[in-house]
Amino acid sequence: MITINQLKKSYKGIAVVDIDHLEIHPGEIIGLVGNNGAGKTTFFRLLLDLIRSNEGEIWSKGNPVTTTEAWKSYTAAYIDEGFLIDYLTPEEYFYFVGKLNQLSKADVDDFLQQYLPFFDDAILDKKKFIRDYSKGNQFKIGIIAALLTRPELLILDEPFANLDPTTQLRLVDMIKTLATDHRMCIIVSSHDINHVSEVSSRILLMERGKIIKDIAGGDTAYEALVDYFKVK
């Protein structure tokens, strides 16, 4: 799905992302962990061609992301409010994103039906612009809009941080089903090592731009992470 070679991004001579080699496969759920400043969000932005790398290239299904646009048809992401169009209502936003992916209104409505529990009755039919929603609800809107495009690669930056406990648990289930049922490749960053080790099939630990650990998810991963973060 994704191949990375010698990827390097630095600001003022300090490497923020510095990845020698990385392969990501379809159906994998990657948990990206690391303290603030480890380079997680920068890495995501590089994946989406929102910043230019100093060295190296990211290949998505064999095509470089910087010079091609085909990856946009199967990639979806939610990083922050910068991904939402805040003067639209959630419905308008969903229809807009749907339209860009050749989905009719009816398609979008059908799709939204299955996520009604996730919205918890706080999103739809509220006659409010997205800018007037709370941060948590904005996050829900962003995640669902990303799923709407039926992506093969989904990127979520700290989705657990802004959600209420119920929704966090729902999201964990959602991610697992999406990966197994649709062979979706999902990359999630998080500070919540509990959730992240539960949900991920593979965990990448970042420190100062480098991936210093590449381990399988699960209980052993949880312990390894606790060990790593505790010492400091």
Binding site: L48, E69, G82, L84, I85, Y87, E92, K128
Partner: protein, 491 residues
């Protein structure tokens, strides 16, 4: 915590705001621009008595001047509602600190008073008073006259603030004041009550009995106290910031037919109608459409076709420059998203171009009414229109790929220099004066029809090659995409 600390924080926020970080040269230009405006207005105040004497010989300039003062304040109420903003949000970080309510109230009042619109009138009234009122009526009357004006300015200020805080529906307020003015003018017209005479009667009375100015002062004090009391009782963030729940979920079904491009244009239209700054930018473009009324006749009479062409460019194409200088910045808040959606960049650029063409065609259609002033307007306007959509559109899109500044959509557009850099000034010059120079030379040496024809042909050529130009622009855009993104993220 003292008031001065608040104010010093405001001062810092003004200078340290991300977007205040302009180049020194630009700051000097903007500063110079402001200075010029103030000097011109002060000059107006000084020259006014002589103007009036010249224009209306035999009339007392003071009587003439004072007869328009009430108009001024009524219109001022309208203008203020558009221009002034509640400074409420600026106290957000302080609400939870150990600061007394009174200090915060005082800060809010003082902060709101610091606005151009409160100082501008003084630049007219003070020189006028010094030049003619003081010599005629003496120091006491002159001083009281000025005190009265100051009181009325403050009165207007707090009325506006109060109404804004009460979050009375914007347009209703606007219509009410407008109807009031129209009604008074109507009474004036019918001869029931002379508006201008009343106005000058009141102010002349104050000059005769200076102490009457205390009535004005009392009025200002009352509006201040009402405001103060209201604020004191509502010093909670959710009550200070009037959230507009009003939602016009308008859908542009006409655009559905045009697929992706239609969708992007409909998004852009929502952007314009739902955000303050783009909305006022578009309204200004509409107002400029009226320039023809004021400028066409004189140049038509003197057969100055070059000037006619310049104004025709403004009338038919101002939207391109005005809106287009921030073409991408308007979307700076969600540009990250926009660049990762499944959206083809050529289509995106084409949508921007189409928006320009649609709006300019509308402007052109409306402006055809100017043909009533003389048929020779029409070919010039047509040439200006063709040039605008065939050349200026592409120049503007190209220039916009150099604008890396984040734009806050919720701020008012007037006198707002956020997001303006050297590129924008250069672009405005190029877009307006390039074609005018060409037109001037051709008109001068080859005649009217050659000038009109050549300009039109250049425009048509641009349109003919639009596919090529858009591809090229998409390339240019892609080339600077990361820089634009980086700039937009730095808020």
């Amino acid at each position: 915590m003292r008031l001065s600390v608040f104010l010093s924080h405001q001062w810092l926020s003004f200078w340290r705001g991300r977007n205040a970080n302009k180049s020194l040269a630009l700051q000097i230009i903007i500063g110079f621009f402001y200075l010029l405006i103030f000097l011109e207005i002060a000059g107006l105040g000084i020259a006014l008595p002589f103007f009036i004497k010249e224009l209306l010989p035999g009339k007392d300039p003071i009587v003439v001047f004072t007869s328009y003062i009430i108009y001024y304040y009524l219109l001022g109420l309208l203008a203020r509602f558009q221009l002034q903003e509640l400074p409420s949000l600026s106290i957000q970080p302080y609400l939870a600190q150990n600061i007394s309510r009174n200090t915060m109230l005082r800060f809010l009042h003082v902060r709101s008073l610091v606005h151009v619109i409160n100082f501008l009138p003084l630049f007219v009234f003070v020189p006028f008073t010094l030049v003619i009122i003081a010599p005629t009526y003496g120091a006491l009357s002159a001083t009281c006259f000025l005190i009265l004006q100051l009181a009325l300015v403050i009165n207007n200020h707090f009325i506006t603030m109060f109404i804004k805080r009460k979050s009375v529906n914007n347009s209703w307020y606007f219509i009410t004041v407008l109807l009031l003015i129209a009604g008074l003018k109507g009474l004036d017209y019918l001869g029931v009550l002379s508006f201008e005479q009343t106005s000058s009667y009141i102010f002349m009375l104050v000059l005769k009995y200076p102490m009457l100015c205390l009535l004005g002062v009392a009025m200002a004090v009352i509006t201040f106290l009402v405001n103060n009391r209201y604020l004191r009782n509502h010093l909670y963030l959710e009550e200070l910031v009037n959230e507009k729940k009003l939602n016009i979920s308008k859908h542009y079904s006409l655009l559905d037919k045009y697929g992706e491009i239609g969708e992007i244009i409909s998004l852009e239209l929502k952007l314009i109608f739902r955000n303050k700054r783009p909305r006022s930018t578009v309204i200004i473009s509409g107002v400029i459409l009226l320039y023809g009324l004021f400028f066409y006749p004189q140049y038509l009479k003197s057969e100055n076709f070059t000037m006619l062409f310049l104004f025709a460019l403004l009338v038919t194409g101002i939207f391109i420059t005005n809106y287009g200088q921030f073409l991408f910045s308007w979307q700076s808040g969600h540009f990250d998203g926009l660049m990762s959606y499944h959206l083809n960049m050529k289509q995106y650029i084409r949508a921007k171009f189409s928006l320009f063409v649609v709006v300019c065609s509308l402007q052109f259609l409306l402006s055809t009414f100017y043909v009533l002033m003389g048929w020779r307007i029409f070919p010039i306007q047509l040439a200006a229109f063709l040039y605008s959509i065939g050349v200026n559109t592409f120049v503007t899109i190209y220039a916009a790929t150099f604008n890396y500044k984040y734009l806050n959509l919720t701020k008012s557009a007037s006198m707002n220099f956020q997001g303006i850099g050297a590129v924008q000034w250069l672009q405005s010059l190029l877009v307006a004066f390039g074609p005018v120079l060409v037109f001037y030379l051709l008109n001068r040496f080859a005649g009217y029809w050659v000038a009109v024809g050549t300009i039109s042909l250049i425009g048509i050529a641009g349109l003919a090659f639009n596919r090529m130009l858009i591809n090229w622009l998409a390339g240019q855009f892609h080339f600077r995409k990361h820089k634009i993104l980086e700039g937009f993220r730095a808020r």
